[in-house]
Amino acid sequence: MTILPYIGRRLLFIAPQLLGIVLVSFFLVKSIPGDPAVLMLGPTATPEAIASLRSKLGLDHSLPVQFWIYLKDLAHGDLGTSWQTTRPVLEDLVQRFPATLELVTLGLLVAVLIGVPLGLASAFREKGIIARIADFYGLGAGALPDFWLALVLIFVFYTLLQWAPAPLGRIDLAVIPPPPVTGMLTIDSLLAADWDAFRSAAAHLVLPVLTLGLVNAGPILKMTQSTMEKMLQSDFSRYEVLCGIPHRLVVRHALRNALPSVVTIISVLYGFLIGGAVLVEIVFSWGGAGQYAVQGVLNSDLYPVLGFVLFSAIFSLFVYLMVDLIYLAIDPRIGH
């Protein structure tokens, strides 16, 4: 088995990349004008109070020294403290990251359920009505701003039809959230066998998940369609057709060969969406990790931004690693 050394090699490359990401984001966020000490104490603070707070926060050191201190804290698992929530960033993120993850994972699932079947259907009959719908959808989905689609869905399903709950967070205010285990409300409420909480959490998920699913099905559809067309026109498919192998089997073999590209586009979207779902989070007051980071940037709160960038970078690198392992499983050519 060569998988373990392979994973080890990959992890070795991840470390310098993470260091680079932390370095760039540290200096980028540090260069945002606005002094956290002044912002924390408000406009009435005395210069002495500001100076003492600055030294307490370590802001009186030079930038490289501050970076070194941050790295040392990071090695101990300390991601700093957010001055907005006055809580350790790690705690905040552990609470908020699962919210984003739940939203994005379900959204991507919906996107796959829309994109792959439509892509397959349009690859078979290139001139049919389904192919036309799929073509149009593939082009149109990428053009829709997700935050706008979210608003339209809210207008139709909340304001007009009253089917969906108000776009204010992840669960009804009147419902007691289940004790946190995974941080994902649907799973936690199932674990606690709390059906009211589950119903409320699931109802709040419907619109944001639908938004993300509808918008992100576009790239998956296009990739499925173009790869399947290529595979069905390739020599091995033509040979199978010539040999009289049933259509169903020809398609299945083509799909097997198209799978790696489809998996690739899904993984790229997954990594992108962790930070890319920010606007949808804001529209639905989701309180996820992306929203936390954006608030951090807008209020020169350094550590939440760094923490989020670090979390999402590690997450994308993890997803890419998993995908490469999936390749090993689904594509025998790569194993050798």
Binding site: L139, I282, V305
Partner: protein, 316 residues
Amino acid sequence: MSKVLSFLRIVGRIARVRPRFVVGYVIVLVAILAGLLAPAIAPYSPIEADPTQFLEPPSWKHLFGTDAVGMDIFSRTIYAPRIDLTIAVVGTLLSAVAGSFIGALVGYYSTGRGVRVWASYAVMRAADVLQAFPVFVFAIALVASLGQSIQTVVLAIAFVNAPIYLRLMRAQVMSIREMRYVEASLVAGLSDLRTIMRHIVPNAMGPVLAQLSINVGWAILLTAGLSFIGAGVRAPTPEWGSMIAMGFQNVVTGQWWPSVFPGLALAITVFGFSLVGLSIEVVADPVKRRALVRDLARVSLCAAPGAASLSAKSTP
């Protein structure tokens, strides 16, 4: 005059075999014209509010209605391409020029030995790091740190998109640099830089051009997204994203028009740019181009008198 006519005839033929291309160009043209002619078309000022006419639903007086402070949404929607298209086009062009120039150098010096190879390796790793960032958070942080203005939004768009062109160009140049004519140009005594600029880059431009138009669409979406959270173009300036944001609260209470119309305009414009990108892709891709030329020939054959019998004979 006859030249114009024959051009129109070709456009008409393309419209018959690939109607969506023409749709794309028409949308883009309409968006540009709306921006240019806005002062003449717009019935009201795009930045002046009439406090007595707030949240009026669409009517003949206010085609798209008015927003919460009483500004005419139709006027603002047709003024918006001025700012949105300018930011998107300038940002995309900047990223394409800078990204493809660096990408060409990196691709050219990617093999061999010496300092340049190390430099090109370092550039690629830097691009890896930049692309590992969550795009949106990165763009907001850039705008925030440079100070919020239209120029910094343009810069942020250029910065976020540059790695795409860098990679595209690098891949192209790496295959082209093995060509004989590159060798010939070097043997003839041209410097590396001249060889790259005169003989490699022009042959590597196809995918970059196709990417360009699609990217303008993304850039419009990014600009609108930045403005939506208040990190892009500021409020009274007519811009689709900030208009959608302004109507956010009204949508929840039932006044849909302040957000829906600018969003529709935005989506249709981005759709148009991706159709234009698709058409360029077809022209740049030899296989797809051949299919288009074949379809065009068939249409012109059918259009000619007696073509039906001719094509019937030629197909056994």
